[in-house]
Point group: C3
Chain length 309, copies 3
């Protein structure tokens, strides 16, 4: 694994396959340690600043839990306040100021490229927790960690990604990371929400087998794991179009019965109705475990950038 | 005392008289320990999540102080954020997600029954910090703790409850807990805001002497302690009716002079004008001490659910 | 240095020259200690409550970082919540309640005199973090600390203050503190925003040389340090008047070239355009270091009021 001490975590593509193996190992080590003892002290005295210029409570709480589980402290801006702190001030000035108080920064911002801009302004490590339609690298890492943990290996997997593949930042980044492990990928979506051409062609250029289809059952039948995403109403100009596709991508008990094989199910959450509640007790339903894995992976990333992994 | 490790704290009636004695002892122990040393470490490494779907800053700060005084950490949602986290997501999904980050949850929610719903969704302990017109058990416990501490005993007490007894969640729960200790109770209110019939009859069925009256002076004259509550304007259809009763339930220096005996005064706060500022220096005015006791009681409850009491 | 244990920090004029020397020493000691070790434990187990009735995220984060770097904990109200906690409740009742949970309070409030009012209501120490047009003593202290650190001494300095000297709470307090050290002061502002007469006459009565001018270059040429402030549009009835003066008080690379001498530059931040980004790399540009010094100074103040300095 590369040395991430003092480094920014901005983009999924900054990790080699070796890096990812390393991060998984560190995260897995923390997961085991937390089972044995209540309290770690690796980052005692360190302060993480969370700057959320748009709400993402899930991600914020996950980072705060990760930092505290390592013995560190947190100071933070909520989205309401952050809009006031930035009033008339450049993003660079805001993060420069915050960098005087904290030892690392997690930033969420609606503008693509903003995390890079923040990182360039300060000498302390900056973690991108989502910059518009851009990146959210710790999300991709926790997805990979969950796949490894649920399936035992990242090798020779076939994975279906379902739903909004056009706008879904999560599936773009995950597909990219999975390409390091020679996965076979099904992309299941309505035509209007297909995976962008540059991504599929990029994957194929790396020798990854990509199958695009509208048929979720067919894809799932050939897959070890299905990664569901939400289809957002507001993406559709024609609402009747939305109502039509919405129904076709619902994973429920009936679907699992038709499937006639075991499968692992992930979802970045929140879900609305694309996974029914009657699936929650299914052994392969891993989406809440996925949330917990986010804490271990973020612990690993934090320990790494502080040079303590 | 029962074993509360891993248990939810949802309703005042889950405590036996022995449980309450036990909680008082644990809280009292923490109160003494905090006088001797700055810092306890009983819950080091544990994380409490505070989920406030409606504002109750007082309760939130009290829980956060309690958790930190035991060495634990806190992650939390304010009411502004919590509305966004829940957008389109079920309460069960929200608490299931948060349960992946934290070791226990405190929840405040406007809907009666929501705390139970949250508790049923997750394996970690959930503390109800107010669910609509339902329960707020740690408030009742801190009231009991304060009465014990101020009066030396919970036995053979006569207690007046004054103000809005119809809608006041606090007085309902307190009356119920006091019934375990054979208290005599005066219920002092305007007719429109009388204690609900099912509560008074329930108390009487347990052999508790209940006296309902509109005369605060008469009740106080026979009582060891007076529990004041706020009468809310918005409860009255006829505003002139409100103005009339409002004046009759003001506890001020003049009232205490007429009373010709010492009495202990509690109030869940905030007060508006039902207790005058000229009462604040009166030795029996215990409503700010009551706030402090809330921290000790919540420390006890937290220690108990983590199996560390 | 006086004994500040248990004392309120309300006004810049409560400090003698000896006190300021002492605070600088304590802050400097913490700055050095933090370079050697990650974690201090001086205030372990102590809780600071931050009550911000108007937003000042910069100040809040600085106090939170200071408290955590000393090992203490923080509970807090944001400006959104604080408005709800205070609904119908007196400020005195709010701080009395909070004083039951915390060991010290930092308060920011739009009303002049509110910090004193809060301090009078509670036995625990209260730090004024800005009360309307009144005081913000830790800001003045961090400015003094920065001047000492950047220039090596507080003696025999000539300092220019530039911009809005009429409404600028910061420059009023700083001028007062600097008068303890016999500084020579240039006050540079448009006529409409001159330093209030009572301040200049008060300084002169103490034997301080005060030069008022509209010429920033002249003032800077004779100064060791220039303290820039923002000129707020909304102060001007006639907008064309604003546009005229605005341009004259911009510190940029071109100005520094014309200046032909080294100078130290401070600014309380946020800046809008009164200091150009092309100045940020100038060795004397100390405004971000000034932010960091705020943490050390606030650590000193916190340690002092807890009797641990």
């Amino acid at each position: 694994m590369g040395n991430f001490k003092g480094k920014d975590i901005l983009h999924g593509n900054q990790f080699s396959r070796k890096d990812i193996d390393g991060i998984i190992n560190v995260a897995s080590g923390f997961e085991k340690e937390l089972k044995k003892k209540d309290s770690l002290t690796l980052l005692r005295g360190k302060i993480l600043a969370t700057l959320f210029f748009e709400p993402s409570t899930r991600t914020r709480l996950s980072f705060e839990a990760a930092m505290q589980r390592l013995g560190g402290g947190v100071i933070g801006l909520g989205s309401v306040e952050s809009s006031s702190v930035a009033k008339g001030e450049t993003l660079a000035d805001t993060v420069r100021t915050v960098s005087q108080y904290a030892d690392a920064i997690v930033i969420r911002h609606p503008r693509t490229g903003s995390a890079k801009e923040a990182a360039d302004a300060v000498p302390i490590p900056v973690i991108n927790a989502g910059d518009g339609t851009g990146q959210h690298p710790t999300q991709a890492l926790l997805d990979i960690y969950t796949i490894k943990k649920e399936l035992g290996s990242l090798k020779n997997l076939t994975i279906s990604m379902v739903g909004d593949l056009k706008y879904g930042r999560t599936v773009h980044a995950l597909a990219e990371l999975l390409s390091l492990f020679q996965a076979r990928l099904y992309f299941v979506s309505p035509l209007a929400l297909r995976m962008p051409e540059e991504i599929t062609s990029g994957l194929r250029a790396k020798g990854i087998e990509v199958i695009e289809t509208e048929d979720m059952l067919k894809a799932a039948s050939g897959s070890h794991l299905i990664y569901m995403t939400r289809i957002q109403k507001e993406r559709f100009a024609d609402l009747s179009e939305y109502e039509k596709v919405k129904g076709s991508y619902v994973l429920n008990k009936a679907f699992l019965d038709r499937l006639k094989k075991k499968i692992t199910i992930l979802h970045p959450l929140p879900r609305i109705d694309e996974i029914s509640a009657d699936v929650d007790d299914y052994p392969g339903a891993a989406y809440f475990r996925q949330m917990r894995n986010g804490v271990f992976v973020r612990m690993a990333v934090l320990a790494m950038i502080f040079g303590k992994a």
